[in-house]
Amino acid sequence: MTLTLIGRSVRLTRRNPDTLLMSILLPLMMMALYVYVFGGAINTGTAYINYVVPGTIVLCTGYGATSTSMAVADDMRKGMIDRLRSLPIRGFAVLTGHVAASVTRNALATAIVVVAAVAMGFRPSASVADWVLAMGLLLLYVLALSWLGAAAGVVAKSVESASVLSFFMLFLPYLSSAFVPTHTMPAFLRGVSEHQPITPVIETVRGLLTGTPIGSTGWVALVWASGLLLASFTLATWLYRRRTSD
């Protein structure tokens, strides 16, 4: 039943490939920009491409995940949601469908970004176990942001206002260690970037893929991502029930 709705969301994504294209092209362009244009000017202590790829992957998944908000907002204002709600199926299954489609979309986008990065000279030192751990953390992170996107989609008045979250997610990574080490930032920005959830996630993925030290950051990232997932899932399903019980 939930599988049917996942199939639906995936099909809708395929039929309307703009979102998918954006969530692949955007990180690719950004990666190229950083590697070829700014890369020479930023000193990270390693080959810059090895520094920037993990950040790009996280940025890409964050952006892609929040585009769930647009798919959900689109559904909420159309008649289909009434039909689904009058069927004997679990209420928020339609949200689960969109979240699962988002995970699929992001897996695809991530694979493409990684392949492109390797072509551009990215040389990960990760073992199979490191890759599995990194992907596991990313999955958790994507799930958390997709449910956050679903929550935003449920309350958004229109598809356009739902897209605000994605734009926010596009800029948040600049206030993290995605592109430049945080110690190069002014003090107040460094405070923000070291304590927001994206930085530990990026640091952990970077550590796993390129062998930079992780330390306790891995646990911090895990706690952030699972906490965020729990909170956004609860929020999305609660908002959905509220919105649909008039």
């Binding site: 639906r8 008649g79 004997p88 008039d246």
Partner: protein, 305 residues
């Protein structure tokens, strides 16, 4: 009674949308909820199909309480809303198979069911086109087909023909008539007396959230009279004196007095004679078939001649 509603009230803040509605629908019958825009028809359907909660009152559908056992109610009903609930980016067939799968049909059975319904609703040629390329009539038919996937006991149709051209409307009426033959209970809303007349066994007339009439279509029509007489005058005082003399509803801006009539020559004679005896000059007389307006005039203004 497959649908039982007692003392149904719905308020949004201080706005009272449904104000103590009672109705009963017998299994296998066609029930028409008739009323103008804003009467509360959609609100009623949304409550009966578990999409919205009643503020107070008892609502049972298929023997289940909509508030306490919504999942059971959903198992016996299906809903075709006022706006077609179809996915534009999926094909007609994909839409049908999806609903069948959601109703827990196995994949081969779901495909077969979709084929049957495409055939029945004359959508075979368009089956593999995306719904966004469909005409309004085709969307409505697909919408209805999707509601029939699981063979519901009660089907709710909210203004099934609004916005359709006359040909599509007739096709839709035929589809509904077919459904009746299969024994499905139909609960439909409409703004058109003609539609309710043609399809429904019983009609409830809703006005501003209240039931103003309840009965068979024949009973309703005899209350309204067969026709409406419009008497045209050349000034305001003539209209009002005429109304005082023979009754009826004054359309002040048009200087017209509307009177319910059985359409007989005798009734016309009687009206004109009364006016002449009172020295009220009538410019012109026209007569037309009753509209929903007339039903309201007759039932809410107490003018039934």
């Amino acid at each position: 009674m497959i649908v039982e509603v007692e003392g149904l009230r719905k308020t949004y803040g201080s706005a009272v949308v449904l104000d103590g509605v009672d109705l009963k629908v017998a299994e296998g019958s066609v029930f028409g909820l008739l009323g103008p825009n804003g009467a509360g028809k959609t609100t009623t359907i949304r409550i009966l199909s578990t999409l919205s909660r009643a503020t107070s009152g008892e609502v049972r559908v298929g023997g289940f309480d909509v508030r306490r056992e919504p999942a059971k109610v959903r198992g016996v009903i299906s809903l075709t809303g006022q706006y077609a609930a179809v996915d534009d980016e999926q094909t007609g067939r994909e839409n049908l198979v999806m609903v069948a799968r959601l109703m827990r049909l196995a994949r081969p059975a779901a495909r077969r069911r979709a084929d049957e319904l495409l055939e029945r609703f004359d959508l075979v040629d368009a089956a593999d086109r995306r719904v966004k390329t469909y005409s309004g009539g085709m969307r409505r038919r697909l919408d209805l087909a999707m509601s029939l996937v699981a063979g519901p006991r009660v089907i709710f149709l909210d203004e099934p023909t609004s916005g359709l051209d006359p040909v599509s409307r007739t096709t839709m009426w035929d589809a509904i008539a077919d459904l009746v033959r299969t024994g499905t209970t139909i609960f439909l809303t409409t703004q058109y007396l003609e539609e309710a007349d043609r399809l429904a066994d019983r009609i409830v007339l809703l006005s501003k959230g209240k039931v103003v009439a309840d009965g068979t279509t024949d009973a309703l029509k005899s209350q309204v009279g067969g026709d409406r007489l419009d008497l045209h005058f050349d000034d305001r005082s003539a209209v009002e004196r005429a109304a005082a003399c023979v009754g009826g509803h004054v359309f002040a801006e048009r200087l017209v007095l509307g009177i319910a009539s059985d359409g007989s020559a005798a009734h016309l004679h009687h009206v004109l004679d009364s006016l002449r005896q009172n020295d009220i000059a009538v410019l012109r007389v026209s007569s037309h078939r009753p509209t929903l307006d007339d039903v309201f005039i007759a039932l809410t203004a107490g003018v039934a001649a």
